[in-house]
Symmetry: C2
Subunit: 144 residues, 2 copies
DNA sequence: TGATCATATTCTCAAAGTGGAATATGTGAA
DNA sequence: TTCACATATTCCACTTTGAGAATATGATCA
């Protein structure tokens, strides 16, 4: 995807991470190499869904993140290759992960990932906050 | 200077490098660990002096750059310590230095550094463009 | 097909960033 | 003290970004 490496490509990558929400997304994605779906990020970050989608789109346009669809869910993951900046940038994000406030996210993310079935997200946004609580979670037919 | 590491500190650092001029400044400073003065950066970048001063101030406020005065000259350097993000961030800037457009800056910087005397800047802005040319450069008393 | 749900987009406007132009500050030399 | 010069700041018009609110899209299931 990224063909020629120019300073413009690079400063756009920096700008993409120069926002607290997007940096926190980066930290979360670092914990889940296979990606996270939007609703998981919404729950972890406590940000409105349209905002999370927006920021993910920005990260994707900056070439830092990839997207794949699985049924109704869209999984976003940190790009692993084709971007020469990604390795050193990942090291920067790792530093961010050590921050106290980032670790709060990590705690919530671990809790959210525990709700997965077969490695996939099977619930929507705020499962614990909606009426009916756990009973609301209707598990569809999932292999594994 | 940086006491507690928070994600805010880090995304401000990213945002500081998320601009083409400031990223180019970062690349230049990487070539000169002891720092560059404002007039040198003005010549290399081809940006107006007030703009260079402004961007340097921003980099300084983001904790990425230090400043010291030597007579009329102000030297800015990449911060080396007290900022846990600096090492991985430096690796990112190094990647940026490999870009074709960044190497043009590097060529100009080498030429500009050749005008130093005793490792110090002794000329102002655009020395070759002002009337009188080389003759204008009046060397003050400089040790070495 | 219609309902439901996960995700994406658009509209809007306040807030922040950007950089040119003019000017101020600070330092050293005459 | 005055001048010259390197650097810093302020003012201002302009552009970009940020995010709430409402709505659209797209996929699955009944």
């Amino acid at each position: 995807m990224i063909t020629t490496l120019t300073t413009t490509v690079i400063d756009r990558a920096f700008a993409a991470l120069g926002d607290s929400v997007r940096l926190r997304i980066g930290c979360c994605l670092l914990m889940a190499p296979d990606g996270l779906c939007v609703c998981e990020l919404v729950d972890v970050l406590g940000e409105p869904q349209p905002n999370v989608s927006r920021q993910l789109k920005l990260l994707k346009e900056a070439g830092l993140v990839t997207q794949r669809r699985e049924g109704r869910w869209a999984y976003y993951a940190l790009r692993q290759k084709d971007h020469p900046l990604l390795k050193p940038l990942t090291a920067c994000i790792e530093t961010a992960c050590c921050c106290v406030d980032a670790q709060e996210d990590q705690r919530r993310l671990r809790a959210r990932l525990a709700l997965r079935r077969g490695g996939k997200c099977v619930v929507g946004i705020h499962p614990r906050k909606k009426k009916g609580g756990e009973a609301r979670v209707r598990l569809p037919v999932v292999p594994g």
